[in-house]
Symmetry: C2
Subunit: 216 residues, 2 copies
DNA sequence: CCGACTTTGTGCGTGTGTTCACAAGGGCTT
DNA sequence: AAGCCCTTGTGAACACACGCACAAAGTCGG
């Protein structure tokens, strides 16, 4: 389930505060979900709480981490070291959860060789070699839209089976390869949609198109 | 619907290629969804295609843009000009869709005054003034987790009703304020989860916790 | 002008996710 | 040791979204 990471983060906060046990009600509030949903999620992964008491924070952290595969070390490559790629390479939230930035790649000669977050940027021509040598199974694509599919094909051919795509295109990949897409512009558009709804919605302006196209 | 921006992007690509009309089947393939779903989405917003022909690309672009509120100009503020804030301020996908970066804010004296993407970074002490003077209704939060709720409260108090939150915390806001959360670490965790599933899943390691805690 | 073909719009069955509500179960107090 | 109270785990109703499949509708060729 996609909510497990949210629970996990809330649990980490509680653990830092020294909380030993937590009820489903409290944890659900911290995670921003319904308590029944949380209990069902946790029971679904077979983890047990104690009736009358709640869940032991440390135990639950371990169970969820294991379920998510965070008890192992994942080597991640970032392809495309523009502004976004740089931001991602320095993002602390990755390393603290078992993700190790293992390689940075770019096509721009002015960027290749640069030292960023302790890693030297390598040339994308060496992509296949870099991926195989470092045992990379997850790639982050922060490249321009026009290059995304080509880069995607190459990382898949090199053995990568999970891709986090920031380019605004729909990638096509073979079966067995997972793609998650983060589109920053889409998020803003969804906000604008709700914002407009608050302001009364688009009703009453149905004729705008004709006016814009044909003149009033 | 959250899929409209995806359709819109696909339509823009088609428009650039000079395509005049498109069938639901073609557009659905470009957007990566089922064609029946696409038709239902489009009919839901009252837009009409032509049976036997398809949808007129230009007309559909306008209809969806209007539905999403992209025909108006949205002023956006970015709070927190770290690596991520810089990447966002320079992201071209915003300006091309009716979003205008109107203000950049940060608390760090070394950053305030800096010129980034044509804007001077302002001090967060002036947040209320900046938001009101620029008519900002959407704020992007790229601040550290510890500061996020406080900043959120301030932008809401200043009249912002839509927030795009990159900080890894669950923000609490009054009714009428929309929050969308982008958590880069969560996306990777979800990928790791599927990656682990492919490799055989967490079965067989149930005893690891006891061993890790109590010794073998 | 007519018929065949294409594509939209939608009714319906199906499956999934969400929520309520409650019984089962365990701890804590007396 | 016994009963009370709290919390989990889950059964069942509900709501929603998805996709198939088809009828309505409009176009194009003859």
């Amino acid at each position: 389930m996609a909510r497990l990471p949210v629970y996990l983060r809330a649990l980490h906060v509680l653990a830092e505060r020294g909380v030993a046990t937590v009820s489903s009600e409290e944890l659900a509030a911290a995670a921003g979900v319904n308590s029944a949903k949380l209990r069902k999620d946790l029971s679904h992964l077979g983890s047990y709480g104690t009736r009358g008491v709640g869940y032991e924070v440390e135990y639950l952290v371990y169970q969820i981490s294991r379920e998510l595969g965070l008890t192992q070390d994942w080597a991640v490559a970032i392809v495309g070291i523009g502004n976004l790629g740089r931001a991602l390479s320095g993002y602390g939230g990755f390393a603290s959860r078992g993700f190790r930035m293992a390689a940075l790649l770019d096509a721009e000669p002015g960027i290749v060789g640069e030292l960023i977050s302790g890693l030297t940027v390598e040339h994308i021509d060496d992509l296949e070699m870099v991926i195989k040598d470092n045992g990379i199974s997850i790639a982050v694509l922060a490249v321009p839209a026009a290059a995304a599919q080509a880069v995607c094909d190459r990382v898949v051919a090199s053995g990568v089976t999970s891709i986090l795509n920031f380019a605004p295109v729909v990638l096509s990949v073979p079966d067995g390869v997972d793609v998650r897409k983060v589109d920053l512009s889409i998020e803003l558009q969804i906000l604008a949609f709700h914002e407009q709804r608050k302001a009364g919605g688009p009703s009453g302006v149905e004729q705008e198109y004709l006016e814009a196209v044909e003149g009033p």
